[in-house]
Structures are given as structure tokens and as C-alpha cells.
Symmetry: C2
Subunit: 224 residues, 2 copies
């Protein structure tokens, strides 16, 4: 029931209201699994108990796998122009390995995410892993870049770690600095406990499939 | 039973053999939870079944939380010089959100990780999320930098995405290019399906706590 679209996106004729209804029971499962990931790291219960819980988890997985997609979740778009990417590594609502990241636009060009990170995001003792900050920034900056109303992919990402970011609440912000031809330059920062701990610059590029699609639409006189 | 050490590391008097014995039942739990994360994204079972599995997962979490650490897992070091970081976001053996990454040194200065990525690591449709590649590279490059026999933290990380990396097996490699004073410059690449898809350069710096510790040891005539 899905059709191919440029860039590997799938046209899927699922009404937005139905997507939201399914999220109503699928997202709580993902949130419960995210909580289990945290408990799996922090638990100090005895060996016999760990082995019993492992068997429970395997049974839960088997029930979910009774019917499943062949591969990854993909990125879907319906006839209402609504898009969902349930498996996305940064923001996928069904991805328990993704940080609990929700992105908001402030209306003045800044995209922002307030995220609270814990035991699953540790690098140096008690600090956020630099790679997790890179994941958050890469995604947030990509959203900011695409808000310039053309699809983009990350070209080059430069991240400057000013100081360690403690586990707990943090704020990430990204905004378009300038557009140069097919490139969009985005700046970003992470702040925790009132101080900027990370700064980043990203160069995002319009992918070839989008340039070719736009060229075809123009040739057909249907694009704008 | 843990003592503080420079940089927030904990001296923990657990023999290496006991650490390994505990990993014998704790790692299978984390692997089972990683498999559950994948099934949570890909399952298409009916709503009632999802709700029942969610309750099972919540019960498993409650059993694990009967006894647990107050916070994150930290980084531990025992009297045998063996170190473990079970919660680490990139390589933590108890972290089901971490990609299944194992790093090996080839003896000729290259650190390497062969990793197979799936539904939980998706960004563009069917492709690895650029931020997941940044997480893998940040960690691998940090290990390569510290193999120069001094502790380092990421200063600046520059990642060039040459082409999309398909989900499935990939190889990441990192090596020290040069050392300049307190900085270590590391180069890295990701290859998938025989082609280099990502290149990276990182500048790693010796953290202040390590410089101060070394200075104190020298002043005491105990360091070298």
C-alpha cells in the first residue's frame, strides 16, 4: 500500500488521524522500552532475577515479531502532506534507542529541543557522550536547514566541544546562518546549567534526487 | 565501595574475573533489550497485543528497578588496571541503546569497528542516520586518540558526509595522524559496500584534570 517517491520516501495512504491513533498505543510501548533500557543499565538485582527478566524480555520480543516489517520503518508521506518517520534514530516516536527529543520552532527562525539525558547517554563519568550531542545536533541542524523550504542532507558537520555537558536537562538550538547556492549553512549550540558547552556549524546540501525532481517539474511546467 | 579518582573515574575493588562473570548474565539482558528495541519499531501486531506487551515490559522494568544505582553507571577501574563503562552510549555492554560496536586495534595503529546497523539507526529512508555515524566516529576516534597513551577528550570533530551509508554492515577505522603539544589529531573513515561514505578529522585534547594530576605526580617524584 506504499508507493515509491523521490529519495526513497514512501507515499502511504494512511490518514493523519489514523497515524495519530496508532501512535496512541505504539508510543507508550516505545516509552516503556526506553525506561527498560535505563533500568537494564542501572539495575543491581541478583543474577537469578536478571535471568528471569531476560526470558520475559525475549518473550515480549517474540510476540511483537509475530507480524513485522521486513526492514526499517522508512519515511512516510500521506496525501495530506503529513510525514512520519517512526524509526528515526534521533526523533523516531517508536525508537526506544532515540533520545527523548522533541523539536520546536520558535517562529523567529530558531529550532530548539529541550532534552533530558540519563544513564543511556553517558560518555565520560556523569557526562553526556560527545557522540550523543553530535547526534542531537546533526538532526536538529538538519531540520533547521530544511526549514529553508528545500530538502537537504548533511554535507559537513563541525562540532566544537567547549566543556563537558553534565547528564540531566540541556537545550539545543539551531538556526540558518546563510544560504549559498545549493548549500545552507546552519549554526547551533548546546547549553546546560546556564552555560554553552558545545558549538557547531553544518553545511547542508540539496540532494541530487531533489535537484533532478525539481528540474523535471520545471520542464513539465508543474513545479514552482 | 568505590573511591573517587581524577576525572570522575571510580576505583572499584572488583576483580576482573568477577566483572567478566557478571557480564556473563548482564550482557545477554542488554542484547535481549536491543532486540526488543528493533521489534518495537518493526512490529505490526494488533493494538490489543501491543498493549499487553507494553504491560509485560513495564513489569520487567519494575523487577529490575527493585534494586538499582542512584544515577548513571560511571567509569570504573580496578586494582588490576582493568576498566569498564557498562552504560557508555557507544560501547557500553549493558546499554541496549548503544549500537553493537566492538573496537579492535590492528597492531599497526588503526582502530577498527565492524558494525551492523538496522531499523534503530535509520535517518533518510533505508540509510544510516548521520548522527549515528557521528556517534560511532566520535567514540572510535577518541579511543584511537587515547591509544597515544594519555587520556583525551574530544575538542573539535569535523565530519564530511561523502554519500549516504546504507543500513547493514559497515566498517569504521581511525588512526592518529599527528600529535601537537596537548593536541592529538585523529583521522577516520566509514566504508560500506566497498566505498568510503564518510571521512572525519578530530582534534583531541588532554583534559585539565589529567595535566594537573601529571604535574602533581611529577612534583611528588612519583610520575613518569
Amino acid at each position: 500500500v506504499s508507493g515509491g517517491a523521490p529519495g526513497g520516501f514512501s507515499f502511504t495512504p494512511l490518514p493523519t488521524a489514523e497515524v495519530r491513533r496508532q501512535e496512541g498505543y505504539l508510543v507508550p510501548l516505545a516509552d516503556a522500552v526506553r525506561d527498560l533500557v535505563d533500568a537494564t543499565i542501572r539495575s543491581t538485582v541478583p543474577e537469578a532475577e536478571v535471568r528471569e527478566v531476560t526470558a520475559l524480555v525475549e518473550a515480549a520480543t517474540e510476540r511483537l515479531r509475530a507480524r513485522q516489517l521486513d526492514g526499517a520503518a522508512g519515511v512516510h508521506l500521506n496525501g495530506e502532506g503529513y510525514s512520519w518517520q517512526w524509526g528515526n534514530a534521533a526523533v523516531g516516536l517508536r525508537n526506544a534507542a532515540a533520545p527523548p527529543m522533541r523539536i520546536e520552532a520558535d517562529g523567529a527562525g530558531v529550532h530548539r529541543a529541550d532534552v533530558t539525558l540519563g544513564a543511556a547517554h553517558e560518555g565520560p563519568p556523569g557526562k553526556v557522550h560527545g557522540g550523543v550531542l553530535a547526534l542531537l545536533l546533526d538532526h536538529l541542524m538538519g531540520v533547521a536547514a530544511s526549514s529553508g523550504r528545500r530538502p537537504t542532507l548533511t554535507g559537513t558537520l563541525t562540532i566544537r566541544y567547549r566543556s563537558a555537558t553534565g547528564l540531566g536537562p540541556l537545550r539545543a538550538e539551531a538556526w540558518i546562518d546563510r544560504e549559498e547556492g545549493l548549500k545552507t549553512v546552519v549554526l547551533a549550540r548546546v547549553a546546560a546549567a546556564g552555560a554553552t558547552t558545545v558549538e557547531a556549524e553544518g553545511v547542508f546540501v540539496v540532494p541530487r534526487w531533489a535537484r533532478e525532481y525539481a528540474a523535471r517539474e520545471r520542464a513539465n511546467g508543474t513545479g514552482g
